[in-house]
Assembly symmetry: C2
Homo-oligomer: 92 residues x 2
């Protein structure tokens, strides 16, 4: 298994959320190209939209009541896996 | 771990192949919405572009000398994980 962190994005297929899940996966894989080992897209149901690192839920649509902007999701992923990393513009 | 199959797509970041890897991931997750447990996007280097199911390489750009069309990749994934499934138009 790669030693680099695995990020999971579970999305609701009934709600047709694959496209935004895949979009955020590409945003994370672009920003953290060398730091992330993989991003797994996981089909789910019942309104789920969660971004996780292991047991840590980085974003839960149900808890937050909305989807993340790319910037805030990247900040949470950065804080979780590469705390020192600057995100440039999107960090402000 | 989900019991459904995990598909891996490893792509070369130096070659900027994230977009086509993410595209194929979405194609597979749409066609096999209920049969696939996850599709993992895995950044790699050195010209790699491989689609795998466990130890089975379903497509290797190096071996095939090119990228897969969505149709042929879906046929190989179908043959591997859901042999009986019809793919409709794209199966011909």
């Amino acid at each position: 298994m790669t030693a680099k962190p695995r990020i999971e994005i579970e999305y609701c297929t009934q709600c047709r959320w694959l496209l935004r899940a895949a979009w955020l996966a590409q945003e994370l894989l672009t920003t953290f190209e060398t730091e992330i080992g993989e991003v797994a897209l996981i089909p789910g149901t019942g309104g789920v939209f969660e971004v996780r690192h292991g047991n840590t839920v980085l974003w839960s649509r149900k808890a937050e009541g909305r989807f993340p902007e790319a910037k805030e999701l990247k900040q949470r992923v950065r804080d979780e896996i590469v705390p020192g990393k600057s995100l440039g513009h999107s960090d402000r």
